[in-house]
Symmetry: C2
Subunit: 504 residues, 2 copies
Amino acid sequence: MQRYQPVPMPSTLAGRNSAEEKVLTIDTINPKVKNVQYAVRGELAIKAEELKAKLTQGAKDLPFSTIVNCNIGNPQQLKQPPITFFRQVAALTEYPELLKPEHEALVSQLFPDDAVRRARELLASAGNAIGAYSHSQGIQTIREHVAEFIEARDGFPANPNDIYLTAGASTGVQQILQLLISSDHVGVMIPIPQYPLYTASLALFDAHPVPYYLDESKEWSMDLPGLERSLRRARSNGIDVRALVIINPGNPTGQCLIEENMREVIEFCYSNKLVLLADEVYQTNVYYPEQRPFHSFKKMVRSARPEIRDNLELISFHSISKGVVGECGRRGGYFECVNLDDAVMGQVYKMASVNLCPNVQGQLLVDLMVRPPVQGDASYPLYRQETQGIYDSLKRRSQKLSKAFNEMEGITCNSAEGAMYVFPQIQLPAKAVKAAEQVGKKPDDFYCLRMLDATGVCVIPGSGFGQKDGTYHFRSTFLPPENLFDTFIANLKTFHHQFMQEYS
Amino acid sequence: MQRYQPVPMPSTLAGRNSAEEKVLTIDTINPKVKNVQYAVRGELAIKAEELKAKLTQGAKDLPFSTIVNCNIGNPQQLKQPPITFFRQVAALTEYPELLKPEHEALVSQLFPDDAVRRARELLASAGNAIGAYSHSQGIQTIREHVAEFIEARDGFPANPNDIYLTAGASTGVQQILQLLISSDHVGVMIPIPQYPLYTASLALFDAHPVPYYLDESKEWSMDLPGLERSLRRARSNGIDVRALVIINPGNPTGQCLIEENMREVIEFCYSNKLVLLADEVYQTNVYYPEQRPFHSFKKMVRSARPEIRDNLELISFHSISKGVVGECGRRGGYFECVNLDDAVMGQVYKMASVNLCPNVQGQLLVDLMVRPPVQGDASYPLYRQETQGIYDSLKRRSQKLSKAFNEMEGITCNSAEGAMYVFPQIQLPAKAVKAAEQVGKKPDDFYCLRMLDATGVCVIPGSGFGQKDGTYHFRSTFLPPENLFDTFIANLKTFHHQFMQEYS
């Protein structure tokens, strides 16, 4: 029998894969994928998982009895309870049999009447088929409710056709970045420090991150001369800078921008032909609402001078994962497009349709988030109590944690005005920096690994978010259950004191 | 006051955007996005939506009273009921309060005991927090159950670490294509006709589609000499062809590949260093299981000669959207990686982690799909009755539809061995082809638009999937409710007869 002669490889690739090698190796896969870095689930997180597994298996040789996950904004992992009304409605939409008249006597003992009513409404919105692909842009009625929510928040109308429901804000951010990155000459301005989704996505889509520094000395606000310098440098290097990302309230920095600063930024974007991408997923995590209320960039644009109001291209992202909702596992969110060209909107729709639709359960929860129970509804008192309880506790925890860090030698920590994070700066002794170098670690990685080993507390080194050269930070959520705070803070203080002594 | 001088654009871009123009226009966005085509939600689907809206508004001037959506594989949109047990468990996991002892008396009247038990198990698997981000790869226990399902199906073991839960198969396909497309020289072999996700994704990732024709004369099977010619042509043109996509059972073609044909294909892939991407989302939609059973490519690889068994790189995709489950709206699925390099698997994990996690509700339904009620469970009789009912009806509908098309002048239609589609070929009269050209339409688009206008039946033209030059097809699902079939088939026959008369 004649042996089969394989089809020869193109001559340019001859010898690339030897017969024994796989087609896909670390050297042959997409190098852009290889370049992606994502610290939130990086070395620290993996090590914390390993330690957790050891504890579960009964390990007794660790200096702590529990892992405290301060590394990820994942509230319900850390026992933040879901909002009862939301889950009641979700349960009823899953199993509409419960809404039939013959079950009313039983069901009314388990569910309040407004949950039953809302479930009926949502099912009707979804054509009584939550198991079907929805409209690719998201269910029409839910987009109308989002538009009403935005209007009530800002005092300016919103158009449901400009709203896309998404599987979490991250998916939306990636869709928009993919749309606007037309070549490897494109650049996108991102804050430093930043949430690493942005650098990861820019690496994946092969665009230039054009970093600008938030001003740590001014509560991590936007520094206009810095923005200007950064843009000028990039453009003079031939980079087609097209967009500016702002995370407000900030991640990892927890700041809430003031109105004046926001107005400067939109003038800057308009003058310089930059699309503004506003990551506003923490808009309800605002802990000093009198001094530092949340303002949306949509409101800033619509209340600006007519040229800006009618022209500045803005995409704003929101999510059900944060706030007091905290439904990360569902993957729900939306983005609103402002002043986008109609033909471009057509392309946004086409791409949404390739992905069929965002998961319907996530869409339903967007509706619940933007249309919670109101005074007079059967569920309102409990809703109010639950949301206020979560909010108050988050605020207390943020204060407790930033106070504790400020009391430690060589650490300065801004108070968290918003979001779920503090981002303290630490003055590492020269000896510690050297010790880190000797084991091939960045100094902040070294410090955080030592913290994890000593206390079981997992935070993320500042280098995962970006920081000014020569400064060291780490990001800590304040999401662990409140009853753990005194103990883990005491452990952190002991660890820090010993660390500083060891390397002083 | 001095007027602000904007930062100049790079000289290469000077004058690109005039002051009045948007930053993002159809000419400045990512051209790869612009190149994406997606017929399943294209012109026909949009027109059908418009007609549906007219009917809803009470329009009386249309020759039909309802739109029959044969354009998309979306069973529950067309009244296929969800499986009761799945939704009972989903409801209980949403609102775990129902599982508390104080509610047992009531809940036991509404839910069977095995649903309660399963909900408890799933909640425990999810760390009692379905509202939290899960492991990025998907919940460990669920991946173990998927591995058990694969082993029971194939007779060969599967490793939970090789399994990734995804938000539907489409997401998984895109993740893998993104990984393997390392440059614009890369090519991926795709069947013609194909499901347009593949051409859309290859356009987006800027890779070459390397088409191979399924053999319509042999029940749309894989034609090895054709594969060989196609690969040879592409490689001789310098294209780095790395992978072969197979959809089995077929979309839009409904074929089930026989074992011998599959074994030829894996030999071809192995000899030619191609990764095999097996889209097996219709694996339970198999209507002649004696003559044409489903075989997985995993089983073919593991039972092949040792070189293939241990080396051929295979990724297989599955979904909760199809089969008799039909839970499209949830977005759930998984892929299994076989024989992939460890370092490459590390990159797959990193990319999953950037996307945080697939939605947990979709993950839970994957568990239910792979671990349905079994004999002896309280829910088994109903589960059996529901799934058998859906299956039998799908089979009857497929036969009815292909028979009807075969009875029409100039139409030949293979019987659907699997999946949810028929893909009839139609001999369009020369006069019809000319009439289409005169209005600037492709002939098959023209025919399908006329069908929609005359009958309200929405199918998708073959050009959206690809077809041999000079042949015309369309794809029709057989998902509409069975009680509509006689009427809409009669309407189709009348339309077709008139159309052929008009253009003969």
